[in-house]
Structure formats: C-alpha cells, structure tokens
Amino acid sequence: MERIPILRMGKLLLVTIQVDMHDRLAMTLQDDLTSRIVKDGAKGVLIDISSLDVVDSFIGRMIGDTAAMARVLDAETVVVGMQPSVAITLVELGLALPGVRTALNVEKGMALLTGTAPL
C-alpha cells in the first residue's frame, strides 16, 4: 500500500508530500506520524507541501489536526512551502489553520524549529 515516507533528522521528523493526497493516504499519514513522534521522541515535525497543488476541506482539516496532535505529543509542527493557490483555497474554505506555524520553504522552516530563525 502507498505510504508517505517520514524521515528522521536528529530530534526532527521530516515529511514531504509529493503525491496527490487522497483521504485514505492522509489518514495513514496521521497514524504513522503520531506513532513515529512517540517512538522517536521527536521534538519537531516539518511537513513540506510544496508539491501539493490541490486541497479540499478534508486535507485542509487533516493538516490542522495533525499539527494539533503533534503539539499534544510535545512536538512543534511547521508546515512549509504552501502554494499560493492552496493558501487561497484554504482561506476561502474558512480553514485559516490558526494553530499551525508556517514557513516559506524547508530552510526557513528548519530555522524556525531549531530556533535559529530571525523571527
């Protein structure tokens, strides 16, 4: 079965979504990610969605939920590389993801997680 890989970099987990997200894939990712956070004792999660062109309300909510779950497990989540069209769609859907931290690209997201960002 198709799975989205989760990479570990020290205390951080890196998820890069490079395929079209469908609902089952999203649910699997949520399961995998929460298990990996607990197993690896991760302190930060970076989700790269720069290849994601299309979102619906389910995927939008799933991103928000995943971030909230990670926070409960004491891991900071940063969503990076959102496309303008995706951002507009999410806002129009009323999903402004208030609890999720965002960054423009992986580099800036990484800086945010490791605490070296100027922001």
């Binding site: 590389g81 303008p84 507009i88 999410l90 806002v91 960054a103 423009l104």
Partner: protein, 305 residues
C-alpha cells in the same frame, strides 16, 4: 399582420430622396452641431449611404422583415454609425434619432401620394413603422453594447493598474492599496501578493490602506483573508495606514483585528518589519547599532542579518 410593400417603398425612397434628405439633414444637423461633431457633408454622406442600403434591401424582396439576412448590410452600417456616435458622446436617444427622424418626412410623403387609397396608406404606414422601430431599437442595442465594452475595458485596466507589489528591502514587501476593495479586486490583490512572496521569499508583507476610502465589514473581511493566506504561506502581514476615522469605524463595526499587527503609518510598519527580519538602517557611524535595534532613519546603509 403581414408587412408587404417592399418594392413600393423602395420606389418612394428613390423618387423622393432629395426631399427626404433635406428634411432629415436639417433635423440631424441640429443634434450633431450641439455635440460639436459631424459636419453637414458627412451627414449627407451617411444618409445617402443609408438610403442606398435600405433601398437595396427593400427592393430585393416584397416581404419586409428586418431580422432576415437581406438586411445584414443595413445592420452593419447602423452598427458602425451607432458605435461611432457612442464614442463621440451622443446619448442613446440622439443615436436612435438617426433612424427615427426619417419617419416624419416619410409619412408626410406617403400621405400626399396615397390620399386616394387609405387602405394601402395604412398598410405602408404600418410597414414603415415596424421597420424603423426595429432599426431604431437595433441602434440603441449596439450603442449599449459598445458602451459596455468601454466600461469592461476600463475595469480591467483599473484592476491591472491598482495592485502593485513593491519590494522595500530584501525580505520585506509593501502593497499600497488604492480605491475600494471588492471581491474581484481582493482576489487579484491576494494572488499577486502571494505570487510575489514566492518569487522574493519575503518574510514580511506590509499592506498599506492609506488609499482605501472606506473600510466596512466586507473590506475588513477581505483584508483578513489576505492576511490569513499570506500567513499560511509563511509570511507575516502588517496592516498600515489606518486613518483615525477608519480606526473608529473598525471598532464600531466590531471587526476583530486583534490577531493582525496594525500600525498607523507605513514608516512605523517598516520599522517593525526591519526589527522582525533582523535588519537595520544605520544613521551616523556604521556598526554602532546592534542588529535588531534600528537607528534613526537618516543614513542609507543597510545591514543584513
């Protein structure tokens, strides 16, 4: 009721052309001179062309129906005249009169010619009336269409003109908004801002609303949407240029801007942006100020992070 008598009318036009021309030009000249437009020679020319086309169309068939292909050339001609008059600033009424002012002289001739045959007179009067009404309405329709095209073109030009995104410094964008924000404009503003954020990798965008005349709940909602979308991309937004009246309106309307950084002037917003990005503008001795603590805005030396 049938509308026959095409050839009879064509003969009438041919025989009485010069008389009709005289009366028609007199009426049209009064209107045209008020607009400072068309010269008499040009009007005569237009009329002769018009009558020629109408005669050709009338002569080609006994049945008179403006909506048949026989009248295509007349329609094209009327569309030309109407479009030309729309551009010259004529009113729709004055444009329609190009056709309608021919009715009165025509009826007068018909009455004189056919006094002996009331039945034929009534029939031809009806034919002419129907035909000229159709032509008059057609000119109005074309007039309207050409005006609408002008309006649509202007709207598009306005949309393109009114949403510049400028880079103030590496990592800092400014978006000076001018004019009222509606849904269509917000969409364009949002798209161009987000696109520019991707291109420049900016961390902060300053939305300056000094040029926005009024802020109601809808405009505020549009602004908040833009801010939210930029945040999703990983850039922070500052709203600046809020005038005292607008601050009052926003609070009275109960619009919640708590989660957005707001500043009174673009200068204040720029200072915040500099602080956030760890850059500073130094005045006097360089390197005397630590990054993150911007000095007075006198010098012109920029220090990166």
């Amino acid at each position: 009721m049938q509308t026959l008598g095409g050839t009879r009318l064509a003969r009438l036009f041919n025989e009485r052309q010069s008389e009709l021309l005289g009366e028609w030009v007199a009426q049209q000249y009064a209107i045209a001179s008020r607009r400072g437009g068309a010269a008499e020679a040009q009007l005569r020319n237009q009329f002769l062309q018009f009558v020629d086309l109408v005669c050709a169309a009338l002569g080609s068939s006994e049945q008179v129906d403006f909506n048949t292909p026989t009248w295509d050339e007349v329609r094209n001609f009327l569309a030309d005249v109407s479009g030309q008059r729309a551009r010259q600033g004529f009113t729709p009424v004055e444009t329609a009169l190009f056709v309608f002012s021919l009715k009165e002289p025509l009826f007068a001739r018909l009455r004189a010619d056919l006094a002996a045959d009331p039945a034929l007179l009534a029939e031809l009067t009806w034919t002419i009336s129907k035909l000229f009404d159709a032509m008059g309405l057609y000119t109005t329709e074309v007039f309207q269409t050409s005006r609408e095209q002008v309006i649509i073109r202007q709207q598009q030009e306005l949309l393109e003109l009114s949403t510049p995104v400028v880079q103030l410094l590496d990592g800092i964008l400014a978006l000076p908004l001018i004019g009222t924000l509606d849904s269509a404009r917000t969409q364009v503003v949002m798209e161009s801002l987000l696109q520019k954020i991707v291109e420049t990798g900016a961390a902060i965008a300053i939305i300056d609303i000094t040029g926005v005349p009024t802020v109601d709940t809808l405009v505020a909602q549009h602004l908040l949407k833009t801010v939210a979308a930029a945040r999703l991309m990983g850039a922070d937004c500052i709203i600046s240029g809020i005038r005292p009246q607008i601050a009052q309106t926003i609070v009275h309307l109960g619009v919640n801007l708590q989660n957005v950084i707001t500043k009174a002037t673009l200068a204040d917003a720029f200072i915040v942006a500099l602080k956030r990005t760890g850059k500073s503008v130094l005045g006097g001795a360089p390197a005397a100020e630590a990054p993150g603590a911007p000095g007075p805005l006198r010098g012109n030396q920029f220090v990166g992070d």
